[in-house]
Symmetry: C2
Subunit: 192 residues, 2 copies
């Protein structure tokens, strides 16, 4: 029995290696550079091995996205926990969100821009994704304002941050005024 268990462990470890390598490659050179050939070479296995762990490239992106969601939730909670009062919390959240997107562009893409084959905003949504949304919700609920469903407010606030993050990174918005735009968003959207 112990032999089988060892093999299972090794298999699980190799799967983690694949995800970590894919993520590393994506952060270094962008997702376009993450080809099955390059990925296979880096983990020192042949291409078909990837397909014994994942259905295809899409699922690998999905795996990176799930990892990223967990980390994002942690980052959001850490940022808000360190802040005092609703206003400071929302500001910290917004800044932390944009910082995460800027510092981990590949993970952010896997989460919100690419197709990782994951279900969002549904009952069968994977737990890490639900939890990342919950982390936003926890902070934003207290500033949603009267008569506005916290979920709806969170979605809207999140979408605004997402727009800022993506347009800035794609060179559609000049990066200098990011802080001022963020401030404007917080001032106007949050009911303090």
């Amino acid at each position: 029995m112990s032999v089988q268990e060892r093999k299972q462990r090794e298999r699980a470890s190799r799967e983690r290696l694949i995800v970590a390598t894919a993520r590393e490659l994506a952060e270094q050179q962008g997702w376009d550079a993450v080809t099955t050939r390059r990925l296979a070479e880096r983990i020192e296995y042949s291409q078909p091995v990837l397909y014994s762990h994942f259905r295809g490239k899409r699922e690998i992106i999905g795996a990176v996205a799930l990892q990223g969601a967990t980390e994002m939730a942690v980052a959001m909670r850490a940022a808000t926990a360190a802040a005092d009062g609703p206003r400071a919390r929302v500001t910290a959240l917004a800044r932390a969100y944009l910082a995460f997107a800027e510092r981990h562009p590949a993970v952010y893409d896997a989460l919100f821009q690419l197709d990782g084959g994951l279900a969002y905003a549904r009952e069968d949504t994977p737990e890490p994704l639900k939890d990342a949304f919950a982390a936003l919700l926890e902070c934003l609920s207290e500033v949603a304002g009267d008569g506005v469903r916290p979920e709806l407010f969170t979605e809207t606030f999140w979408a605004s941050l997402h727009g800022l993050a993506t347009l800035t990174r794609a060179g559609r918005l000049p990066p200098e005024d990011t802080a001022r735009r963020t401030e404007l968003l917080v001032n106007r959207l949050a009911m303090l």
Copy 2:
């Protein structure tokens, strides 16, 4: 001379055909389906002909984006012109923007999601792009509020709409509440 002119006309006409066909194909089956081979087949020329008009696929996307920018500017101005008062104008603008993104997803992608090799938010930004932003600016200036640069307000409002549009279309936000989110955005961001 007239022969040369005729040839120039024919060449220009073929270029329009390429852009129109690329756009059509993208609207029907998504940009992934727009391959140089398929595109060449549809216009009934060989692949290299495309490269005598455009440097590559990226430039074709860029051409579709410029077309789209012009149409978007027209659509935004039409929507705001038909509305009475600042509030109605902003609401109309927001709805028209999201409607445009939903009805012309491929054009929207070419404009704001894909790399068409265009410069944004700079001096050398192509005129259609500047004008599309100007169309937003015209409407949003009057609700920017005191002490807020209209350009900065427009960028922020635009980014929020962009976030809503992309997250909704990518299945990250449930589509049912789009109207309510839009309403919330207008109510909070615009100073009426």
